[in-house]
């Protein structure tokens, strides 16, 4: 059931807009700059509206239903965030305006830095990075800059656990450093003995370690203090991947655990949209040791002679420089600031409590049917296996596709890599018990179907506009842009 493209419904001469009369004198464009062919689609207003309304109906998002995509924290995005981001005072700002005329925006950026410092337990925050992985690259570059500043020019190794997000080794490689992988132990923690051995082997070359806590299994590392002490003892720094901050809000602070730098995902923990792949925002928090290396500019406050605060842009003394034009994704930061102000400190703590409670509730309902290989009290998410001994032909992918027929977005699958046929489920705090019950019932019903009628799963989804996509062809023959035949 493919829909025609907007270009395919185009007919010469149709037009969806009527331009107003000119209210300035008409001026001709210079000779040679005018093209006589502009191959844009020509459609009526009705065609236009129907085309995009149909497309929007094909979409699935948190405004439609449950979206338990593990590690992505697909919580509901409150609409008040959108209203605030659309305030005319924010929308009509220009980034080149003088600081005197943008005090409101700078106030918001300054206080957002302060909130994130308080939430993470850090000495400073930069709001610049545009996404989580961008925050990782920023943090790794800060760690390297710190060592260079100390005269440690030979350090080039970053330790990454085998449960890490793929972006961690990618950020390491992108910054020109080497990845050394650390296996997990049988409780899903970093294997302490192997970590100790790696720290000793690479001691002179250790830049630091990248760690997600709770990790991608949804488990709080039981040796977090020992891990951080070990890395610090060998001169390394601790990078925290804040993708899973939703479990910690108001309860535990990574800065107090000993992390030196951490990125926050505003589009996960702080309820800004993931829509269309972005924009996100990945601010970084830094400990005392790294605060001077934060990317510039950051916003600082000073009292004037009347005791009023004046906010201005500032470059930290050893800053790694700019990582983004202007001041980060300002509109995203307004949304996240709104979220924090709406909830307050108590509300944020309740977010973490309910996120963890929801994940444990859901896990307890399905774990007799779907094996949970690291069976501990989980944090905000858990990972189970999408395979059954008595239904050998069924894989996690089939279960994920069948969930679409039940009206749910599938969970993350085949990640983390250390779990066979992984299904990674993160319900978030914004779902009701009824939704969690319906989802658990669907998973149990699918497990029954896997035994009695496996083809139902192999051929799923049955109700979506398209069935199984040809992922091999999609990966090998990238067609990124429509072209006129």
């Amino acid at each position: 059931m493919t829909r025609p493209l907007i270009f395919e419904i185009s007919r010469p001469g149709r037009c969806a807009v009527a331009l107003p009369d000119l209210d300035v004198p008409r001026s001709e464009l210079p000779e040679g700059l005018v093209r006589d062919d502009l191959p844009l689609p020509e459609v009526s207003e009705a065609d236009l509206i129907r085309h995009y309304t149909r497309l929007s109906q094909l979409n699935y998002g948190v405004d439609i239903g449950f979206y338990p995509l593990g590690s992505c924290t697909m919580k509901y995005n409150p609409k008040i965030n959108e209203e605030m981001a659309r305030l005319p005072g924010f929308v009509n700002l220009h980034p080149y305006q003088d600081e005197e005329t943008t005090q409101g925006a700078l106030f918001l950026l300054y206080h957002m830095q302060e909130f994130l410092k308080e939430i993470g337990g850090f000495a400073g925050v930069s709001l610049q990075p545009a996404a989580g992985a961008h925050g990782e690259l920023t943090g790794v570059l800060m760690m390297r800059a710190y060592h260079l500043d100390q005269g440690d020019t030979q350090r080039d190794v970053i330790l990454v656990p085998d449960s890490a997000h793929g972006t961690n080794p990618a950020s390491t490689s992108m910054s020109g450093m080497r990845v050394v992988e650390i296996p997990s132990d049988d409780r899903g923690n970093v294997d302490l003995e192997l970590l100790r051995a790696a720290c000793e082997e690479h001691s002179d070359h250790l830049v630091g370690m990248m760690l997600t806590n709770p990790n991608t299994l949804g488990l709080f590392d039981e040796h977090i203090e020992e891990i951080i002490a070990l890395v610090h003892q060998h001169g390394g720094l601790m990078y925290g991947d804040g993708a899973n901050m939703n479990a910690l809000l108001g309860i535990a602070r990574p800065g107090e655990m000993g992390f030196d730098v951490l990125h926050y995902n505003l589009h996960k923990t702080f309820s800004t949209p993931h829509g269309g792949g972005g924009p996100g925002a990945g601010p970084v928090g830094a400990s005392e040791r790294l605060v001077d290396f934060l990317p510039s500019p950051i916003v600082v406050a000073e009292e004037d002679e009347n005791g009023d605060e004046f906010y201005y842009l500032y470059e930290p003394p050893k800053s790694i420089g700019r990582v983004k034009s202007f001041y980060g994704h300002f509109g995203v930061i307004v949304r996240a600031y709104t979220y924090i102000r709406m909830l307050g400190a108590k509300g944020l703590r309740r977010v973490a409590e309910h996120a963890v409670l929801n994940a444990n509730y859901l896990m307890s309902k399905i774990k007799d049917t779907y094996k949970v290989p690291y069976d501990r009290v989980c944090m905000h998410e858990f990972v189970c296996e999408g395979r059954f001994h008595d239904a050998p032909g069924v894989r996690a992918l089939d279960i994920a596709k069948r969930l679409i027929d039940y009206g749910f977005h599938p969970p993350t699958n085949y990640f983390p890599l250390i779990v066979h046929e992984a299904l990674m489920i993160e319900p978030t705090e914004t779902e009701s018990k009824e939704t969690l019950d319906r989802f658990a019932e669907a998973l149990l019903a699918i497990a029954e179907e896997a035994r009695t009628n496996p083809d139902l799963l192999h051929e799923a989804p049955h109700t979506a506009p398209v069935r199984r996509l040809d992922e091999v062809r999609a990966a090998k023959q990238l067609i990124l842009r429509w072209e006129r035949e």
Partner: protein, 129 residues
Amino acid sequence: MKIDPEARYLKSHEWARWDGEEIVCGISDHAQESLSDIVYVELPEEGDVFDAGEAFGVVESVKAASDVYMPMGGEITAVNEELEDTPELVNQDPYGAGWLIRFAPSDPSEFDQLLDAAAYEAFVAEEEG
């Protein structure tokens, strides 16, 4: 799961087999099955030298990209150029047409340290739980 009884194996699921003085190496049937559809294989250059256990290439499927490791130390003498256009050969015939590299081993005795077919089969069964 198919197992080539002539080959020896690594716990990271590569196989190695003598062919004259050289070793042919690929990934096991179990590895291709776990990775699912393979879309891209990155291989070294002829003449590259690796130690045992060092990553010599990458196998990328629709699910994941995985490093592949040298079963023994040695110098690459040939790579399977067919895989550039038809990486699915690794799925279809992992022990035959889907081979990855040939190399001249620097220490032939390293072969004896690899898992034999029975030990590899037991290892996979244990890993699968």
